[in-house]
């Protein structure tokens, strides 16, 4: 089961900000505040087929049934990682928790929480635990290509925010041809 609590909490900081980095399992979290109601943000996120719109490295997500989906993700240097994911816990309008199924390329689990934040909208917090492919080396290589999940998650959440707040994702591309080239 996915842990977001510390075993011996000493302060209010999230467990992922811990300076204790023992072990190979990577834990990351990123938070963004979106100026839209939680119900709307949740509904958008719950439709997994929409996620590749703002998740840069997700090539596609095939929705298999209400709880299961197949993920195809771009890794460093044209590599591909695939797995099936299952929603193991879901609180309508508040949170989604998933776990990858056995036999995938990347073992991962995570939770996205949607918290009402009054006039500021919704705080979306994504917490992800994963075993990096190829261990520490894989993580170094990934970082080099900026496919490292903590950077990626942060950027993806920003794109989600842009999409929901402004109806589009900001780009500096001067014209559609340059945009297509950048999207590669």
């Amino acid at each position: 089961m996915f842990q977001t609590e510390k075993s011996h909490p000493r302060d209010d900081a999230a467990v992922v900000t811990s300076k204790d980095t023992k072990g190979s399992r990577q834990l990351l979290a990123s938070s963004v505040t979106i100026n839209r109601p939680a119900s709307e943000v949740y509904a958008f996120f719950r439709d997994f087929a929409q996620l590749p719109q703002f998740m840069e490295n997700i090539e596609r997500i095939d929705v298999l049934d209400d709880k299961r989906s197949h993920w195809v993700v771009k890794g460093p240097a044209d590599s591909r990682y695939e797995w099936d994911s299952r929603i193991i816990d879901e609180i309508e309008g508040q949170s989604l928790t998933w776990q990858s199924e056995d036999g995938g390329d990347v073992t991962n689990s995570g939770r996205v929480a949607f918290a009402e934040a009054g006039a500021r909208g919704t705080v979306v917090t994504a917490t992800i635990a994963y075993e990096p492919p190829g261990g520490i080396l894989g993580k170094l290589v990934a970082k080099l290509f900026q496919r490292e999940p903590s950077i990626q998650t942060r950027r993806d959440l920003r794109r989600l925010k842009q999409l929901l707040e402004t109806g589009e994702i900001a780009t500096a591309a001067r014209n559609p041809a340059i945009f297509a080239e950048q999207e590669g």
Binding site: R155, R158, R159, E165, T166, G167, A170, A172
Partner: protein
């Protein structure tokens, strides 16, 4: 199209590049009729701003005619509009509070990390000002893609010449916000360090906001003369001791509010790894730090310090003690251009603010590289250079 592109230190060229086009639904394409070289462009010219790439199109003060619109733009083809230098979405929390330069969504997601590292949070995007501020193609070109065109550009009525409204894009609202940040009360004396374009607009704005006296400080005689034209008393800091002069002018009290407009030409966003390089340059040398230090020391007890001048990195010997002991209020920030446009356009149209006094040179876009050299080398004479893409090189 033709555009002014950056290639390195003191190397800018007018080249033919790919035309812009609509990418996002809220975009518009503007055909540029006037575009100015900003003092802050000189920092790009001198290559003190990191994250520039060869071929980047410069320019963030521009206006023109709407020639193409995305499905969600509210502009109409054929309208003339002035475009704010800050790229802001209008729908995030900060835009909702009219803090447009703090927009959450103006920067592409991937470009936000540098500002996050340097400042803790990313700011709005800027046109033509390095990849740290978004990597957006700028306005010193025949055409520009303008994102969020339903929020930023302000439509200009027919019959109003470009020169009168062009500076709504940056320096006029920047000078206005500098004065507004002084919280001027009736009878106040406001001192302005620096009589560049923003300082001169701050002088006019301070009077409009109710200042009884404005004291302008600079060392270029021509710029001090312009400040005097708007009713300011002046101090030439090369000829007089600024602090002592201010004390005598204010009965030993000090100005009620002070504006540091010395470094304000820079909208520069420096990160600490280039601070040493910057310090070594003339731009962030001792003199500029001297201005804010002197302003804080001269300011009266309980007074207000307004700092439109940009400090991108870290400053040594900042008089934190004087700020604290005298109970001063420090207000600063990149300009929330969109917030001020309607009221400032009205003020310009009613001739409450003079905007045309500043322009010393009008050149065709084709001569933009010469324009940079002129603006860079002759600061007393070249108060403002405006490029006109439509102007023939023969004239």
């Amino acid at each position: 199209m033709r555009a002014l592109t950056w290639h390195g230190k003191h190397d800018v060229r007018v080249e033919t590049v790919d035309d812009p086009g609509i990418v996002n639904p809220r975009d518009a394409i503007i055909k540029v009729t006037s575009t100015a070289i900003c003092g802050s462009d000189l920092h790009l010219y001198d290559h003190y701003i990191p994250t520039m790439q060869a071929g980047d199109i410069l320019g963030h003060e521009f206006m023109g005619e709407v020639v193409e619109i995305g499905p969600k733009s509210t502009l109409k083809i054929g309208q003339r509009a002035v475009v704010p230098f800050t790229i802001a979405c209008g729908s995030c929390y900060h835009c909702g509070k009219a803090q447009f330069s703090a927009c959450d969504n103006g920067l592409p997601a991937d470009n936000q990390d540098i500002a996050r590292e340097a400042y803790g949070q990313p700011m709005s995007g800027l046109f033509g000002y390095s990849h740290m501020t978004g990597g957006y193609s700028g306005g010193q070109a025949e055409y520009v893609r303008v994102p969020f065109s339903d929020v930023g550009p302000i439509v200009i009525p027919e019959g109003i010449e470009d020169d009168k409204v062009l500076f709504l894009s940056d320096i006029l609202p920047t000078g206005w916000m500098a004065a507004e940040n002084c919280d001027i009360e009736p009878g106040d004396t406001v001192a302005v360090w620096g009589c560049g374009p923003v300082g001169l607009f701050a002088v006019q704005s301070a009077f409009l906001l109710g200042a009884e006296r404005v004291i302008a400080i600079d060392h270029f005689p021509k710029r001090l003369e312009l400040a005097r034209r708007f009713g300011a008393e002046t101090i030439n800091f090369e000829e007089s001791d600024t602090y002592e002069a201010l004390m005598l002018m204010t009965g030993g009290i000090g100005p009620d509010a002070v504006i540091d407009a010395v470094g304000l030409e820079a909208h520069g966003l420096f990160v600490d790894n280039v601070v040493d390089q910057i310090k070594a340059s003339t731009f962030l040398g001792t003199e500029r730090t001297h201005a804010i230090r002197q302003a804080i020391i001269a300011c009266r007890k309980g007074g207000r310090v307004s700092m439109p001048a940009v400090y991108g990195g870290f400053v040594d010997k900042f008089p934190l003690g004087a700020l604290m002991e005298k109970g001063l209020t420090l207000r600063t920030g990149q300009t929330h251009v969109q917030k001020y446009l309607p009221a400032l356009l009205a003020a310009v149209l009613e001739d409450k603010i003079d905007t045309t006094f500043l322009i010393s040179h009008r050149l065709p876009l084709e001569d933009a590289a010469e324009g940079y050299k002129l603006f860079h080398d002759q600061q007393n004479e070249a108060t403002k250079v405006v490029l006109k893409p439509g102007l023939s090189t023969a004239t």
